[in-house]
C-alpha cells in the first residue's frame, strides 16, 4: 500500500509541476468553453442578441414593399439594411451579409394582379451566401409569410386591390356569362368588401390574409422557467477534450518512464504489475475528476451553470469518464512504441473521439446514422451524461447507462492495455 500511495502521489505531484499540463487541463477548457458557450447561444442570453444581416433593395418603394420592409425590420432576429443592387450583390459575395432581397418595381401591383388572374408573377430576387445556407433558408421562409400578408392586405383593402378587382371585372365582361359567373360573383363580393373596409379603419387594418396560427415556444430544460444555459454543454465538451489530452499525457508519461529507465527501477522492486498500472489509473482518474470539478465550479460562478439534475449522477459520470480516460492512457502506453510515435497518433484519435462525441457541435446535428455510430465513442457517453446531469436536469437513473458504458470502455481499454503491455525491459 505504501508503494501504491507513493506512486499515486508522485503522479499527481508531477502533473502539478508541469505548468503546461496545468494550463492545458484547467485554463484551456475554461477559455474555449467560455467562447463556445458565448457563440452557441450565450450571446443571445445577453441584452445584445446576435442578429442576421439582411440587405433589402427596394426598387418599388410602394405600399407593399414598405409593408414587407416594415415586417422584416420588426423581426428581432434580423438586422435589415437598405442597399442598392450592386452594393448588395457585392456585400453578399464578400460574405459581409448572408442574404440580399431585391423587391422589383411595380411588385405590389403585379403581385396583386397575379393573385386573381393567371398573369405573370413578379420575381423577388434573393442573393445568397452559400456558406450561410441555414440563415438564408430561414429568411426565405420569413419573407414568404411577410409577402403573403402584405400582398393580400393590399388586395383586400388597398387602392391597388380595388383597382385590380375593377380591372378584372371589366375583363370578365368579354367572357361568356356562364363561364365567368362564379369568379364574377366572387370579385363583386370582394369589391363590396373593399368599399366597406374603405369606410371602416379598424377592418382595414385587419384585412388581408394572415398566418392562421401562432407559435408558442417553450424550451424544455430541467424545469419550467429554467433557461437553457449553453455554457453547460460547452464547458462539459471542453473539459472532456482536455481531460482526454491529459489521458494522452498519462500514456506518453509511462512511455517516457520506460525510456528514462524508471521502469527498470519499478520492475526491479518487489511490486506487482497490478500496483504499477492501477496506481497510474487511480492518479489519472483523480486528476480528471479534479479538472471537471474546477471547470464546472468556474462555469457555476461565472456563467451560472448548475447541476440541474442529480449531483450523485454527475459525480458518477465524472468518475466513469475519469476511469475511462485513465484506461485510455494505459492503452496508449501499451500500444505506443516510443513517446514521439505515440503522441501524433493518439492526438489524432483523441480529436476524432472529441469531434464525434458532440463536444464541439451537438450530436443532434449529425446525420442519423452517425448519431447511432457515435455510441461506439466513449466520449459521447460522457457528453450525454454531463448534459443530462447539468442543463437537462435528469435524475440519477439517467446517469446509469452513460456510467455503465464508460466503465465498459474502461474495462475494454484496460484489458487490452494489460494484454499488450511490454512488461519486460532491458
Amino acid at each position: 500500500m505504501t508503494a501504491f500511495l507513493a506512486l499515486v502521489r508522485k503522479d499527481i505531484r508531477i502533473f502539478f509541476q508541469d505548468r503546461r499540463a496545468v494550463i492545458m487541463s484547467f485554463v484551456a477548457p475554461i477559455l474555449i468553453g467560455s467562447f463556445f458557450g458565448y457563440v452557441f447561444g450565450g450571446a443571445s442570453r445577453s441584452s445584445d442578441p446576435g442578429r442576421v444581416t439582411v440587405l433589402v433593395v427596394d426598387q418599388e418603394a410602394g405600399a407593399v414593399s414598405k409593408a414587407i420592409l416594415s415586417k422584416l425590420t420588426a423581426n428581432k432576429t434580423l438586422a435589415v439594411q437598405n442597399s442598392t443592387l450592386e452594393d448588395a450583390k457585392q456585400l453578399v459575395r464578400k460574405g459581409k451579409a448572408p442574404v440580399a432581397i431585391v423587391i422589383p418595381p411595380n411588385f405590389g401591383k403585379l403581385a396583386t394582379q397575379a393573385m386573381f388572374s393567371g398573369r405573370e408573377r413578379p420575381k423577388v430576387q434573393v442573393y445568397l451566401d452559400p456558406s450561410h445556407q441555414m440563415e438564408s433558408s430561414m429568411i426565405e421562409g420569413m419573407l414568404t409569410g411577410y409577402v403573403m400578408e402584405a400582398v393580400s392586405k393590399e388586395a383586400f383593402s388597398g387602392d391597388l386591390g380595388r383597382a385590380t378587382v375593377d380591372d378584372s371585372l371589366k375583363q370578365l365582361e368579354s367572357v361568356p356569362a356562364q363561364e365567368s359567373a362564379p369568379l364574377k360573383g366572387f370579385l363583386q363580393a370582394l369589391s363590396r368588401y373593399n368599399q366597406s373596409t374603405q369606410s371602416n379603419q379598424t377592418n382595414r387594418r385587419d384585412a388581408g390574409l394572415s398566418v392562421p396560427f401562432e407559435l408558442s415556444e417553450e424550451k424544455l430544460t430541467s424545469r419550467q422557467g429554467t433557461e437553457y444555459n449553453p455554457y453547460a454543454h460547452s464547458f462539459g465538451g471542453m473539459a472532456i477534450q482536455f481531460i482526454l489530452f491529459m489521458g494522452i499525457d498519462v500514456g506518453i508519461g509511462m512511455l517516457l518512464d520506460r525510456q528514462r529507465g524508471l521502469w527498470k527501477r519499478f520492475a526491479s522492486a518487489p511490486l506487482s504489475k497490478w500496483t504499477l498500472l492501477s496506481s497510474r489509473a487511480v492518479s489519472a482518474t483523480l486528476i480528471a475528476m479534479l479538472i471537471l470539478a474546477v471547470v464546472f465550479a468556474f462555469a457555476r460562478i461565472v456563467f451560472g451553470v448548475k447541476i440541474e439534475g442529480s449531483l450523485p449522477g454527475f459525480i458518477a459520470v465524472c468518475a466513469g469518464f475519469g476511469l475511462m480516460t485513465s484506461a485510455y492512457g494505459l492503452l496508449i502506453a501499451a500500444l505506443g512504441k516510443t513517446p514521439q510515435a505515440a503522441r501524433g497518433l493518439s492526438i489524432l484519435a483523441t480529436l476524432l473521439m472529441v469531434m464525434l462525441s458532440g463536444a464541439w457541435i451537438p450530436s443532434f446535428l449529425f446525420p442519423g446514422w452517425l448519431q447511432s455510430a457515435t455510441k461506439l465513442v466513449p466520449a459521447r457517453w460522457a457528453m450525454d451524461g454531463l448534459d443530462g446531469m447539468t442543463w437537462r436536469g435528469l435524475g440519477w437513473h439517467e446517469a446509469v447507462l452513460p456510467v455503465a458504458a464508460l466503465v465498459a470502455f474502461a474495462l475494454i481499454f484496460g484489458t487490452i492495455a494489460v494484454w499488450r503491455f511490454r512488461w519486460e525491459t532491458e
Binding site: 506512486l7 527501477r265 522492486a269 518487489p270 525491459t425
Partner: protein, 311 residues
C-alpha cells in the same frame, strides 16, 4: 551469494546472451567486462528480474529470482545505465518514492535517505530539483536510489557513463565504501580502467558468452607476454632484424617501427637487463627507455582478437 546459471536470451534470431554462468561470493566485486552489445546489460536485466531468461536461472542465496513480488528482489539494488530519476522532482522526493517501492516510509525512510545522500555527498542538495543537478550529481543520486532498502547485492550497469573524471572518482570512492561495508557488487563496464581499479574478479563477455572469468592477476597470467619495453634507438635503421632479440632470455617478441623498438617480455625485471645489454653490445645506442604494464585491453585483445573499444 549470487549465481547466474546458464542464462540465455534471444530476440528473434539475435542471441543476446548465450549460456552465461558465473558466481559472486558475498562481499566480492566482479566486473562484467565486454564491448557494447556483448550482452552485459541483458545479463544484468535477467539478474534484476527485469527480463525472464529463455533458459537458465538466477539464484540469490540459493533462491531463484522469479515473479514480480518475490521478496528475494529486496536483496538486489539496481543502478541502471540510464539516469532513472524524475528531473521535475527534488532529490528527496525521488528517494522517498524509491524507498516506498520497498515499503519503506516514515522515520525508517528518512534515515535510509539521509544515509544514502550522505554517502554520495548530496545531503545539502536534497531539496533541489534533480533538473538543476550536474550529470555527475545525477549519477551519484542514481546510485543513492538503489541503496535505500539496504540491498546485499548491487547491480551497477555502467554507472559512470558520460560523467567527468572528478565525478567518476567520487562514484568510485562511494563504491569502494560500499565494498568495504561488505556489499556484493556486480559492475558492468567497457572501461578496463574501472574494472581494474574496483573488481576482485573479472568476467569477460563477448557475443553473449563468457570468454574468461578470473582475477586480474589470473587473467594477466594468460597473456603470452605481460610487459612491453619501449626503447627509442638513436638510429633504428641499423637494426635490420629485430626478431633476433628473441634469442635474449624472457623475450616473447619484438617489433621496430622507425626508431621505436617494442619488446614484449614475460617478466620485466628478468628480461629488461638482457635486452638493454644486447642492444649496447650490438652497437645499437638508445636515448630513452620506458615500459608499459599489461592491461585488460591486452587481455581482451588476446582472448578475442578484437579491441574492447573497437568491437
Amino acid at each position: 551469494m549470487l549465481q547466474a546459471q546458464g542464462l540465455k536470451k534471444a530476440y528473434g534470431k539475435l542471441v543476446a546472451v548465450d549460456g552465461i554462468s558465473f558466481e559472486v561470493n558475498k562481499g566480492e566485486t566482479i566486473g562484467l567486462l565486454g564491448p557494447n552489445g556483448a550482452g552485459k546489460t541483458t545479463t544484468v536485466s535477467m539478474i534484476a528480474g527485469l527480463l525472464a531468461p529463455d533458459a537458465g536461472q538466477v539464484l540469490i542465496d540459493g533462491k531463484p529470482v522469479t515473479g514480480d513480488t518475490n521478496p528475494v528482489k529486496r536483496k538486489i539494488g539496481l543502478v541502471p545505465q540510464d539516469l532513472a530519476l524524475y528531473d521535475e522532482l527534488p532529490a528527496l522526493a525521488n528517494l522517498e518514492l524509491f524507498a516506498a517501492l520497498y515499503d519503506i516510509s516514515g522515520a525508517k525512510a528518512s534515515k535510509a535517505i539521509d544515509a544514502a545522500l550522505e554517502l554520495v555527498g548530496l545531503r545539502d542538495r536534497a531539496k533541489d530539483k534533480v533538473a538543476t543537478f550536474s550529470g555527475g550529481m545525477k549519477r551519484r543520486l542514481n546510485l543513492a536510489a538503489a541503496l535505500l532498502h539496504d540491498p546485499s547485492v548491487l547491480l551497477l550497469d555502467e554507472p559512470t557513463v558520460g560523467v567527468d573524471p572528478q565525478s567518476r572518482n567520487a562514484i568510485f570512492d562511494n563504491l569502494e565504501t560500499l565494498k568495504s561495508r561488505g556489499k556484493t557488487l556486480v559492475y558492468t563496464t567497457h572501461y578496463m580502467e574501472e574494472a581494474e581499479r574496483l573488481c576482485d574478479r573479472i568476467v569477460i563477455v563477448d557475443h553473449g558468452r563468457v570468454v574468461a572469468n578470473d582475477t586480474l592477476a589470473g587473467l594477466y597470467r594468460r597473456l603470452p607476454a605481460t610487459n612491453k619495453l619501449l626503447i627509442d634507438l638513436v638510429d633504428g635503421s641499423k637494426l635490420s632484424d629485430p626478431s633476433a632479440l628473441k634469442a635474449v632470455p624472457g623475450v616473447q617478441s619484438a617489433e621496430l617501427i622507425g626508431n621505436r623498438l617494442s619488446v614484449w617480455l614475460k617478466d620485466l625485471s628478468d628480461g629488461a637487463p638482457g635486452v638493454l645489454a644486447w642492444l649496447a653490445t650490438g652497437g645499437h645506442p638508445f636515448d630513452h627507455v620506458s615500459s608499459e604494464a599489461p592491461n585488460l585491453e591486452t587481455v581482451f585483445l588476446t582472448l578475442t582478437g578484437r579491441s574492447l573499444r573497437d568491437s
